[in-house]
Assembly symmetry: C2
Homo-oligomer: 344 residues x 2
Amino acid sequence: MRAALMYGAGDVRMEDVPDPKIQQPTDALVRVLRACICGSDLWPYASMEPSEQGERMGHEFLGVVEETGSDLSTLRRGDVVIAPFVWSDNTCEFCREGLHTSCLHGGMWAMNGIDGGQGEALRVPQAEGTLVKVPVGEDSALLPSLLTLSDVLCTGHHCAVTAGVGPRTTVVVIGDGAVGLSAVLSARRLGAERIILMGRHKGRTDLGRDFGASDVVPERDEEGIERVRELTGGHGAHAVLECVGTLPALRTSLGVVRPGGVVSRVGAPQYPEVPMGFPEFMNNITLTGGVAPARAYIEELLPDVLEGRVEPGRVFDRTVGLDGVPDGYRAMADREALKVLVQP
Amino acid sequence: MRAALMYGAGDVRMEDVPDPKIQQPTDALVRVLRACICGSDLWPYASMEPSEQGERMGHEFLGVVEETGSDLSTLRRGDVVIAPFVWSDNTCEFCREGLHTSCLHGGMWAMNGIDGGQGEALRVPQAEGTLVKVPVGEDSALLPSLLTLSDVLCTGHHCAVTAGVGPRTTVVVIGDGAVGLSAVLSARRLGAERIILMGRHKGRTDLGRDFGASDVVPERDEEGIERVRELTGGHGAHAVLECVGTLPALRTSLGVVRPGGVVSRVGAPQYPEVPMGFPEFMNNITLTGGVAPARAYIEELLPDVLEGRVEPGRVFDRTVGLDGVPDGYRAMADREALKVLVQP
């Protein structure tokens, strides 16, 4: 079968790889219906050291169960399933606390011999803990929106939830990528009073307005901080959803958060230290967030997607087949595309 | 009247200063019944640049109202009152949110022309917002415990509350100073299942056990982290209460916190940056806490103190008169005394 491999910065290739096989009784084989390219895939695409054997790619996908290991009882061949971007047993003490990303028996896709989502099919470990069955057909028009439950919608939701967003919350969202826009949608869904989106790409911020942003601030850094402070009576926002992962984005977050407020980060941090010393202490600023335990949120968010109350799939603005994956990376890296859907 | 002034590192003097006078209609004059020396007073005591005019000291006191400004209606001469360690109007938007430390019309004691608590008397700005009347006489045996509501008990409580301590929480408290011990007491009061106190001064950790610590870990740094991990099934604690303020204490906190857990800091940070990069992100670690809005907690904690269910005043292990204040600083800096009570 064919799958994407990354061999170094800017070097993604579609190649033939061995077909996946059931290895453990808790495995399932899943044929991919839709996958996508993640903003976090762009970090290695920008900086990966050359590799001779290449690395499998992709951690967001939904598909059809093709074969089940002998321990599985609730999944059947033909089920359409969403895979969260971390696999997990859904039974360990961390999973029971809703922190599936710290599952004692789970792990990441496309690492340590586990298949990646950008390909024709995968072996899914801990399949009954990992996969969530959805009541749609293989040709459902909802597949793009359902695919966002694999990562990007759940990540935006995690950001909003850990930041304590609710009615009467003023929210700033940093970043107009797919995660930032999903965070806007999530903050609106949780009832935020006002949502200020910091981003400068008009097509993206327009979608942000559709998703619920009440204001857009295109300025960055000190100028952007000043503008947000003007919009918030001088004090800043209760909740800042940091959806980029860079140090400037984090500094902006700390600049626009209100005393007693929360900065939640879901962009993988590209920095080792956080500038939270005495001033942030005196202002009682909280830093929270982290990698989103998508598995914990799928059931909760699913009805709104199935019933069309939210349309998170609108973040996909380009669709490619498997052969188009390398160009999909390029398009996202060049900011030609917001988020690329892969339809094998 | 007499008051304490600090002229530089290690140089505290009792001097004659002008008697306080009502300046604003919202002021009250308070005669000090009890004051104390704070762990945070030891930072300037260790490092203050020499000053010709000296700085007034002290931010924890309770006393008797001697005179009231014309705007005051609920305070009367003779009332025994507790002063939280930040003064505030108790009506602005931040005070209404319980964040009196960010009061728009408040400030710190012993700064910018405001009197300090280590003296015979003070002018109290925003007196009705700041002071909390307590139903005891000037000679009550409860005065030491009531005085802890000025800072140290409320600070420990803030640490435990912001860390989300409740039943079924495993807690680690870093630091066996008066704040750390107050945090132990607060965590126990909030129902924590298990409280591990990291400290190495036996007299203090014994008091910590009396306050509710279930385990004491005297080891520090890597060795201490290892010991706490052994005690917590390898995963660390849900809530870490960082009551020191140094970078090693913060590093230890991050070393003993469980994935999905919270580090709350109430020791004034002696560092500009926090080592919370990718690993803490992947573990969904939250950093919270900050300077405690004591005023927000006094009414809630008062009944337990008045009715003797908690005895936070046991943190005072030495009492001095005003002339003994300079030696009180020395004793605390030399770790001869845990916390020094001042009885003018």
